[in-house]
Symmetry: C2
Subunit: 82 residues, 2 copies
């Protein structure tokens, strides 16, 4: 069956976040009252799996093996059947 896994990869707290800092600075220069910006990436993976639990386990594995760097990244996963 076909599933869609949304895997959001974000920096762990305390890690340097140059893209977010630059974005915040630019928004402030444009006149917005911004305190901070965090930037994360979402991988929307269209995959075949045997069941919802299988799709979730596979998305978890993909995150650990390829998409997230365990030293600096956190990730969260949501899966829907298509």
């Amino acid at each position: 069956m076909k599933y869609v896994a949304k895997i959001e990869v974000s920096l762990k707290p305390g890690h340097s976040n140059p893209e977010g800092e630059t974005t915040a600075r630019l928004l402030i220069e444009l006149g917005y009252n911004v305190e901070a910006v965090d930037v994360s990436k979402v991988y929307t993976v269209h995959l075949d799996a045997e069941s919802f639990d299988d799709a979730k386990a596979k998305a978890e594995e993909m995150s650990k093996r390829l998409l997230a760097n365990p030293t600096k990244d956190d990730y969260s996963i949501s899966v829907v059947e298509q």
Copy 2:
């Protein structure tokens, strides 16, 4: 008041998506049954605004002026009070 705006910026359909294609190829090489991968970026903006509607309008403006490229990007916004 303080609000958090999550602005997700993704490629419009039909636009070349080299990062997603490379990620899909790597996942397939690792043995996963993957059809396609889309990659999008989420800006989590911590901002001050006068009301919920004001925060939403500001996030909309920020997307148009800085965060999304109108030629190739779609964006969606969700705002919560902090």
